[in-house]
């Protein structure tokens, strides 16, 4: 029966069909629209062809768009670094046994299952001027004024803090899963050879963890490059352009200004940049991992 491939394709066909309809067709459609000048609110609301790379040429000189990409990359790198170091530390601590460990771990899982938009709401309630306890506490005890509705720097770092609150548990738990699955022999040999803890960590744990680290970095980078929901809820992309990440920028251009053609070109570039960044990272990490074996 299993040599009869017709049945196999039959089982696979509904999945392929749905993914073509909601995955592949939109991709080619956005590629197509990206070649046109199209704004349904303009004097001429029809699609006009203005040369092959018209929208893309415009985007190369679109400072706001390029800045939003740079902002997204900066955000991703910052959160990735902080979450990875914090998560690794916490994962290592969870290897030992200590009182109430199961409870702590359970609470640590909680942010993972909360919707991004709800995380945004929670942080909005917690930090907004005039309601949240955080600005009050900072003001009373440290004399620090937190008002991310006005201060661009604070808005950016507020999003970073929120992202760390939300996603460090993912890094912790994934690295913990990887750490608990490591073989014990190399550790015993290293101990016999008189290596100290730091050397063991650097020369045994890290190289053996490379596959898991690749997965974690890959997924976190992908997710933080496409962040929209939490930011939309907390700052709405403001103040000014301070937290306008690429996803939010595209949303605003397309659904507020109705730049359909330009927005499509942005989407394609955004998609392309995401893929390129992840591809570079993946190749670098895989080759590094192989050379260290």
């Amino acid at each position: 029966m299993f040599s009869n491939n017709k049945k196999g394709w039959l089982l696979l066909s509904p999945t392929i069909f749905i993914l073509i309809i909601v995955g592949l067709v939109p991709f080619f459609y956005v590629l197509y629209v990206g070649f046109f000048k199209w704004n349904p609110l303009a004097v001429d609301p029809s699609m006009q062809f203005e040369g092959f790379g018209f929208n893309y040429r415009r985007l190369i000189f679109d400072g706001v768009f390029l800045e939003s990409i740079w902002r997204s990359i900066k955000f991703s790198v910052v959160t990735l670094t902080l979450e990875l170091s914090l998560g690794f530390l916490l994962a290592l601590s969870l290897l030992s046994s200590f009182p109430l460990k199961k409870f702590f771990r359970g609470v640590h899982t909680l942010p993972l299952v909360i919707a991004p938009i709800v995380v945004g709401s929670i942080f909005k309630l917690f930090t907004v001027q005039g309601l949240g306890p955080l600005p009050h506490l900072l003001k009373d005890y440290f004399g620090y004024t937190l008002n991310y509705g006005m201060n661009a720097e604070q808005a950016f770092w507020m999003i970073v803090i929120m992202d760390i609150w939300h996603w460090t548990p993912f890094v912790t738990l994934t690295l913990l899963a990887g750490l608990s699955a490591l073989p014990q022999d190399p550790y015993e040999s290293a101990k016999i050879d008189g290596a100290n803890n730091f050397q063991i960590f650097l020369y045994i744990t890290i190289p053996m963890m490379v596959p898991v680290l690749i997965v974690v970095i890959f997924i976190r980078l992908m997710d933080s490059l496409k962040i929209v929901d939490e930011v939309w809820m907390l700052t709405g992309g403001g103040p000014g352009y301070a937290t306008r990440f690429t996803g939010i920028h595209i949303w605003k251009e397309v659904f507020e200004k109705r730049y359909y053609g330009l927005g499509s070109a942005m989407s394609i570039l955004y998609l392309y940049i995401t893929i390129v960044i992840c591809w570079i990272l993946y190749s670098v990490m895989v080759s590094r991992g192989k050379s260290e074996d």
Binding site: F2, N5, I16, Y187, V216
Partner: protein, 300 residues
């Protein structure tokens, strides 16, 4: 950073060696207590806000647990009994449940095909499903919006602002995830069992019913729970592709942002209600969440 390095060295005494003095144990517990407070404190504040009147929220924040004595139930009854949020809740339940059911059934079939049959190009199909999950949804908002509202037309019926549209759409990110998660489980069931059943004259349906589903039951349960959760939590696509009739609870939550003079109590109440499935499933999925979020690449 120095502190961090010191602690790393202290904690990680070469793998899982059990010798650890009382000081380290105490320090670890202390650190995790602080972390737990940081995790829970914003949520605790949300609960406080959801149980207070606007007047009580005015002025200096009061952190005492006032909900033990008095709850301002109007925050909950106003959106859910008098307002449209009960519709949103209903839509969310329908969309998430149907999507989870659809995704589980389709993924089970697809995974079985990928695992048992020698299909030409199955590797590429596998990779292609993955790319669907990885693409940023913001890049697909416009084409999906245009396709749903103008192109995918069946007479007067368009997919825009319908629950069916959302149910189909969420397959984009849930199907790849479900296939990846189930692949590991179905690959683990020996092929010989299937072949033995075929020799006994069983058809595909019987194999699924008698062999695959019973053996993969825990994995199937986790897959559908996580699919439900992801569909329930999704915001961006739902907010763009619905307007009145199919709005889900996350989109309702974002409506508080635009209204002038936000009623914080009501907003907190809605956020709290939309968190309920997450809290219910937390204990069920806790052990599998790592496998779920990493597509089974790392086992929890």
């Amino acid at each position: 950073m120095l502190f961090a390095g010191f602690y790393t060295a202290l904690w990680f005494q070469g793998g899982k060696v059990k010798t650890r003095n009382l000081f380290t144990k105490f320090g670890t517990t202390f650190l995790w207590s602080i972390l737990t407070i940081i995790t829970l404190f914003p949520i605790y504040w949300m609960i406080l806000v959801s149980t207070r009147t606007p007047v009580e929220l005015f002025g200096k924040p009061d952190l005492s647990p006032t909900f033990l004595e008095k709850v301002h139930w109007k925050n909950f009854t106003k959106p859910f009994l008098d307002g449209v949020y009960s519709d949103y809740l209903f839509n969310s339940i329908i969309v998430a449940t149907s999507n989870a059911a659809l995704v589980t059934v389709l993924a089970l079939m697809a995974t079985y095909a990928l695992s048992r049959f020698k299909l030409a190009g199955s590797e590429s199909i596998f990779f292609w499903t993955m790319t669907n999950r990885m693409a940023p949804p913001a890049a697909f908002l416009l084409p999906l919006f245009l396709l749903f509202s103008t192109v995918f037309k069946f007479g007067d019926f368009t997919l825009f602002d319908t629950k069916i549209g959302l149910i189909l759409l969420y397959c984009v990110f849930n199907l790849p995830f479900a296939i990846w998660l189930l692949k590991g489980i179905i690959d683990g069931i020996p092929k010989e069992l299937d072949e033995a059943m075929v020799v006994d004259g069983a058809n595909l349906f019987t194999i699924f019913r008698k062999l695959i589903i019973p053996l993969a039951a825990p994995g199937i349960a986790v897959t559908s729970l996580l699919s439900f959760l992801f569909a329930w939590n999704e915001y961006l696509l739902a907010s763009t592709l619905t307007s009145v009739y199919a709005r889900t609870i996350p989109t309702g939550l974002s409506e508080f942002v635009t209204t002038t003079g936000t009623n914080w109590g009501t907003m907190a109440a809605v956020a709290l209600v939309s968190m309920i499935p997450a809290l219910l499933f937390l204990f069920a999925v806790q052990k599998h969440i790592v496998a779920g979020l990493t597509f089974g690449a790392v086992k929890g």
